[in-house]
């Protein structure tokens, strides 16, 4: 899931508006600041009664719908580019189909490390693509073999892409069926 940069500012804005609305209602009920008794609703009614207000409300509704839908859809994952341009000294341009890299890396990781069910996703990052391999650890694994497998993958990718167009990251998650074994082991 992507994280739009506007999430935080818009959340702050909505939070402030909700807080202000809540504070106004509480003041209306308990008369804490006395703002409600000084409130003159006449101008508000005049604006709402105006001929143009219905059209303005409709326009505002359309803008809000577009903003809300954009905000929702902006977090949908965007597929990474299929091709990566390799660094070249000449004027020729060489594009590599990066989709073929991930399955190979998945297979290499499953073979080299004590993990199972490796999945992969590619992300466009500045200057290339990052292949993120996500695997479930075998509880019998040891740190050394995991580090060795990740280092091996990293070296293989760096050798294949010396310009750094593709990088690999390994995320090791907990075991898939951690609670399957309920009987304690007895030595």
């Amino acid at each position: 899931m992507r994280r739009p940069a506007l999430d935080r500012p818009l959340a702050v804005l909505i939070g402030l508006l909700l807080l202000a609305a809540g504070a106004a209602v509480i003041d209306w009920r308990f008369d804490l600041a006395g703002a409600w008794t000084r409130l003159d609703t006449g101008p508000v009614h005049e604006v709402v009664d105006a001929e143009w207000f219905a059209w303005a409300a409709l326009a505002a509704a359309v803008v809000l719908v577009v903003l809300a839908l954009w905000w929702l859809f902006a977090r949908m994952p965007r597929p990474a580019e299929g091709r990566v341009a390799l660094a070249s000294a000449s004027t020729d341009r060489i594009d590599l189909d990066a989709r073929s890299v991930a399955p190979r890396l998945r297979a290499d990781l499953e073979r080299a490390a004590p993990v199972d069910r490796v999945t992969s996703r590619r992300f466009d990052v500045h200057g290339g693509q990052l292949v993120v391999l996500r695997a479930h650890v075998d509880p019998r694994a040891d740190g050394e073999s995991l580090v060795k497998a990740a280092t091996g993958l990293d070296e293989a990718v760096k050798a294949a892409f010396p310009g750094g167009e593709v990088a690999v990251r390994v995320l090791v998650e907990g075991p898939r069926r951690e609670r399957a074994r309920k009987t304690p082991r007895v030595h």
């Binding site: 899931m1 994280r3 999430d7 959340a11 702050v12 909505i14 939070g15 402030l16 807080l19 609305a21 809540g22 209602v25 509480i26 209306w28 009920r29 409130l39 609703t41 508000v44 709402v48 219905a54 409300a57 409709l58 505002a60 509704a61 809000l64 719908v65 903003l67 809300a68 839908l69 905000w71 990052v125 200057g127 990052l130 650890v137 509880p139 019998r140 040891d142 740190g143 050394e144 995991l146 580090v147 060795k148 497998a149 990740a150 280092t151 091996g152 990293d154 070296e155 750094g164 990088a167 990251r169 390994v170 995320l171 090791v172 998650e173 907990g174 951690e178 304690p184 082991r185 030595h187």
Partner: protein, 173 residues
Amino acid sequence: MKVRDPRRRPAASGLAVLGAILLLALAALLAEHAAAERGWIDADSWLREALAALDDRQPSVWVLAGGIAAAVLGLWFLIGACLPARRSHLPADGDGDLWVSPRAVEAIASDAAERAPGVLHAASELRRRRLKVKALLAPGHEAAIADILESVGDRLAGIAELEVAVQAKEGGR
């Protein structure tokens, strides 16, 4: 290539979905007003009814409840928007870009502890940089704690620099 650390989804991300729904609700209120005023639907304007209620001396119970809920929700939005996204995995040693989740560390540590002599059962819990291993020892194996520490330390070598604490309990005969 510079890449960010793997992180959990920030609280603001979940609030954004709620915020978008609130915007859609506000849009529905405004659109209903426009439709009612232009005569496109045979209904009174909700917005006009809400404004008419402003002239009351005191809000109704429902309005007051809504106001309190809005204030609480607003505070939640403000706090959530400021919370940073926490790192989801621990960085491992080595040249590779390897990250291990706390659950994976716990599983490896539990398995390592269970394989120490005299341990019947073990469970681990990782909080920040402190790994707590709870072990059930076979009767007469009080010395197994040192073995557990060594076993867990050996297995986790390279993937996490952790402070390991063992809490052992001797099983009944």
